[in-house]
Amino acid sequence: MEKSTFTTKKGLAQMLKGGVIMDVVNAEQARIAEQAGAVSVMALERVPADIRAQGGVARMSDPTLIEEIINAVSIPVMAKCRIGHFVEARILEALGVDYIDESEVLTPADEKHHINKRDFKVPFVCGCRNLGEALRRIGEGAAMIRTKGEAGTGDIVEAVRHMRTVQDEIRRLQNMPTDELMAQAKEMGAPYELVVEVAQAGRLPVVNFAAGGVATPADAALMMQLGADGVFVGSGIFKSGDPARRARAIVEATTHYNDYKVLAEVSKNLGEAMVGISVSSLGERELMAKRGW
C-alpha cells in the first residue's frame, strides 16, 4: 500500500470536477456551502474582496478557524498559504486540510521560488495565467491547476482571458511538429516532458478549474463552456445579498452549463450580486494575478 501518491492527489481533483469550490470564512458559511451542493470549501479569514479593500499583508488563516471548518463539514476542506511559504504549507498539512492553494491572493513570501510541492503528502492547487505557468507549477508537484482570473473583483474578464490563453496554447502545441517542442518549452519556461505530454494528450495532465471573478450562474457556465473542469467562487457568494440561494444557483449552473432554460431559471431573483470592481480600473500594482513566477 502506498499513501498519498500523485495519482491519489490528482484523483481527488478529478472527483471535484463539474463542481463548485466556495470561499468561506467561518463554520456557518461552510455549512451553507455544503448544503448548497459545494464540492469543497476554501477556508480563509478574509475573502479576496476584503483583502483587496483592507490591504496589508494577507497570510495563512488561524489554525483554529481552519479546524472549526474541518469539523463543520464532510466535504474536502482547502486552505491557502502564501506563494513560497513552505512552513505555512507544512502547518496546513499538519492540520489535515485536503488541498493547499499556494495562492496569489495572499501576499507572496518568496519573489522567485514557489514551494517544492513534491515533498508534501497533501495535494496542492496553484493558479496560472498561461500554459507555461501551469506546467511550471505541475513540474513543482501541483496536482490541480486553476486559472487565476482577478480575485475579489467580481469581474470575469481576466478569468476568461486566462482560460482562453491556456486552451489556445494547448491547441497550438497539438499542431506543432515534434521537433519544435524543445524550443517551445524553452520559450514557455516549462518542463520539456510536460510540454510533450500536453502536445500528445491535447489537455493538461491535471484538472483545471476557473477562478477569480465568478459572481453569477452565467459566469460559472461561461467558464465551463470555455473548458474549465469546475469553478472556484471566492467573494461572489458571501459578498452577495442571498448567499445560500446564489450558492445553489451557481452549483446548478455548473452542472447544467449547456442548458439555457435551466440557466435562465436559476439566474432569477438571486438578490444583489457582489458590487465588484472593474479590472480595467485597477492599477498594475493592485493586480493579484501578476504574483507568481
Binding site: Q14, M15, G37, V39, V73, G96
Partner: protein
Amino acid sequence: MTNQQIRQQKIAEPQDSALSTQHSALRVGVLALQGDFAEHIAMLQRLGVATVEVRQPLQLAGIDGLIIPGGESTAIGKLAELYGLKGPIAALAQQGLPIYGTCAGMIMLSRDIGDTAALIEGQPQSLFGVMDVKVRRNAFGRAIDSFETSALIPTLGEPPFPMIFIRAPYIESVGRDVEVLATLAQGDAPIVAARQRNLLVSAFHPELTADTRFHAYFLKMIEEQRGQH
C-alpha cells in the same frame, strides 16, 4: 415558470436524436451531475459501448445500465433531488436495471450511511438508498490518507486488481443476499466491492486505472440481464 416546471417540461420533450435506438449495441448512462463521469465514459468507450450523460430524467430513457461516478455524494444527492432524478433512479434499480456505483456512487446506492451522513437543512443527505449495505463515508481518513494498493478480486481472477482509494468509503456490513467481491488485507478487512443482484459497488476507482476488467464485469451483468428478457 418555476424550476420544477422547467424540469417537468424537460421530461415531456421529445427524445434527443443522440438517444435514437440502437438495439444491437449496449448503451450505458453515466450520471453526469458532478464528479469523474468523463473518466467512466472514456473507459466504456474503450470497451466499445455507447454512452449517454445523464443530467435530467429524460436521459434515463432507453439505457441498458447506469454508472454513478465518484464525486461528492452531498453534491450529487442535492442535484439528483433538485432535478427529479432520485425517484426514477431508485425505481429503475428496483426494476432490475444494472447500476454500478464507484466511491460516491457506492454511497448514493447504499441504504444506510449511519452517522457519517451530512445534515442538509436538518435532514440526512439524500441517497438513492437501494442496496442493502451499510457504508461509512470518508472511512479511511482525509486526503493525506488516500492510497493505492492492489488486491485479488476472485470474480475477476489473476492478476490482482489495482485499487485507488480517495477519501474513500468502505462497507461496514452487508444484507443477506449481498455478495462480497473484495476486501482489503488491512485493519478489519474492510469490504471494498460488493454486488446485490443488479447492483454493483466499489469503494475504489477502476476508471482511474488502465484495467478494464471491473467495467467489463459490469457490462457482462448487463448482457446477462438482457438475456433474461
